[in-house]
Subunit: 342 residues, 2 copies
């Protein structure tokens, strides 16, 4: 009653009156086994309550059907959705993810990868933390670790990548502001730069340059709610205040909006604010936040596709996928409408 009987292939084989090898073939869906035998084996599996032992199978070289999913922080609606997309796609393929968070620490990231390697994961989906060295990425590849980078791509590294079309999206968002008459634009949330942020700033810069407008004022504040508020405060203290504040993500924008409001500025009237991400709160807040919908779920799915391809063919040519983003215009860039999409 109490003890869990650890049933093995041998138990099933005995029960079905065949050999271990035959049971193994049936379990892996081999066509070499006669239909009648397959049936008998499957009945035996059910009868003895057999549970496949992936660990034992791994020792003979088959993959583990596991992958590591490393994000900087799971308590961030963006990464939570990315994780959901990746997890669903992996599930369909019969894989299951190990979850680990790096908290932006290269040391933690290295420890996590080490632990995942001990578990012989078939591959890794990684949002590289700050300070990740290209040599580190290369070292993993050399040791046979299949790896797809998401959201950020370590400069001078090689390999697969899936992320949002940051630059094109920010260009569209900036064009929108320019059409509304904005000329001086600030960018908030660039305290520490990574490839994704660099692309976003580059997009803003490109759009402004195309229209012969001055480069954006980059505020190097943290990419947090508090950082957004800090940026707003600094903005308010300026003699010639920019008329639009573009934030590196939605959360930063929420912080900025609250601080601006407390200083008596009308969002969308006295100053325009934009975000990136289109998290649920962006539609619900007042006024609604103009932002870029970046489809994190799709990025997670795409990363899985790339990783499974890489596992199947380790020497395939590296692929970089930039998923299209969608401009979502709401009240925070004017138009007087209180909320909701235009």
């Amino acid at each position: 009653m109490t003890a869990a009987a650890p049933t093995t292939l041998t138990d099933v084989a005995r029960h079905a009156g065949v050999s271990r090898a035959t049971v193994s073939l049936v379990l892996r869906g081999s066509p070499l086994v006669a239909a009648g035998t397959q049936l008998r084996v499957r009945e035996a599996v059910a009868a003895v309550g057999y549970v496949y032992n992936r660990g034992a199978a791994t020792m003979r070289g088959t993959g583990t059907k596991t992958v590591g999913l490393l994000v900087t922080e799971i308590d961030n609606p963006f990464f939570a959705e990315l994780t959901a997309g990746a997890s669903a796609a992996l599930d369909i393929a019969g894989y299951i993810p190990f979850l680990a968070t790096t908290e932006e620490s290269a040391a933690r990231q290295d420890r996590a990868v080490q632990r995942l390697r001990e578990h012989h994961v078939d591959g890794l989906i990684l949002c590289p933390s700050m300070e990740t060295r290209p040599a580190w990425i290369a070292g993993l590849a050399e040791r046979g670790v299949r790896l797809v980078q998401v959201m950020r791509f370590v400069k001078d590294s090689i390999g697969d990548f899936a992320g949002p079309a940051n630059e094109a999206g920010m260009e569209a968002l900036t064009e929108h502001l320019i059409r509304l008459g904005h000329r001086r634009i600030a960018f908030a949330g660039a305290a520490v730069m990574h490839s994704g942020l660099r692309q976003r700033v580059a997009g803003v810069r490109a759009a402004l340059r195309r229209h012969g407008l001055p480069a954006p004022l980059v505020l190097r504040t943290p990419a947090t709610r508090a950082g957004g508020a800090e940026a707003a405060v600094r903005l308010c203290a300026m003699p010639e205040r920019p008329s639009a504040l573009m934030c590196c993500n939605d959360v930063v924008a929420f912080g900025a909006m609250q601080a601006l409001r407390e200083r008596g500025l009308g969002i969308g009237r006295d100053i325009a604010v934009t975000g990136v991400g289109d998290v649920p709160e962006a539609a619900a807040c007042l006024p609604g936040l103009t932002t870029l919908a970046t489809n994190p779920r799709g990025i997670g799915r795409e990363a899985v596709r790339l990783l499974l391809r890489r596992i199947a063919d380790p020497k395939a040519a590296p692929e970089h996928v930039a998923l299209p983003v969608r401009l979502v215009v709401r009240g925070s860039t004017g138009g007087g409408n209180r909320s909701g999409e235009l």
Copy 2:
């Protein structure tokens, strides 16, 4: 260069001039090995770039140092934070979690658990999906699966549990409304009941009964943003409208607030609204949402503590932990203050 040399204990042993058994002892920190030998072995490990193979170790009966973490949905700030708390606590203990989502489907849940069993997880942290049968939980226990339930506890099941003190919290929240003069109270988001929801409604009911007030009007709307809006619409259509709407969670409350606002009702003035969870948006929206802070991170940590204890001592007495919740009063229950905590 290209091939990944799969180094084993034997390689390390050869390099250090000792036997496999000795290397194994060193790696597991046995005190039986002389200090000098330990040093030589550790140097050899580094020299050959050895990576421990947990799968092989598992075959000799040692645990896998993995656990399964099953939540209904990861793209829900509450479960994301719970996951973060659990993940951090597991990391400290040298464990790593498999992540799986059930999407409230008992069938998906069963499939996920099956897959986790194939991977020989040492234990399971589970937020049981709707329709989970107590017999299913009991069956797992019989087969030696160590399991801790979080947030919800399957009725008539046995085992460990960690969750918020729902009933006490809702009593406090209801008392707050009663102090403010509310007499007729509605509860939104009870389309499908689980133990957590039952406790919440029971808390409301208990506080009202204590004050000789009528039982709450339970609106059986879905526990989503849209469900909250639906509840608000139904509320507005009533002849004798309750003066307070208590929502089963913050997200439902946001939906309700938006719908009420669109119908010209002043939140906190014409009608009071409350949530549960205290997600970041609760502090940022206008007016701020009065809610219960439920400490999801702490629940995740606590679940890990219970699970590790259960793994260490499978026949310990079951423990149920209700983590204290904190009443956070903001503008949505009146007082005229626009935002922020009182």
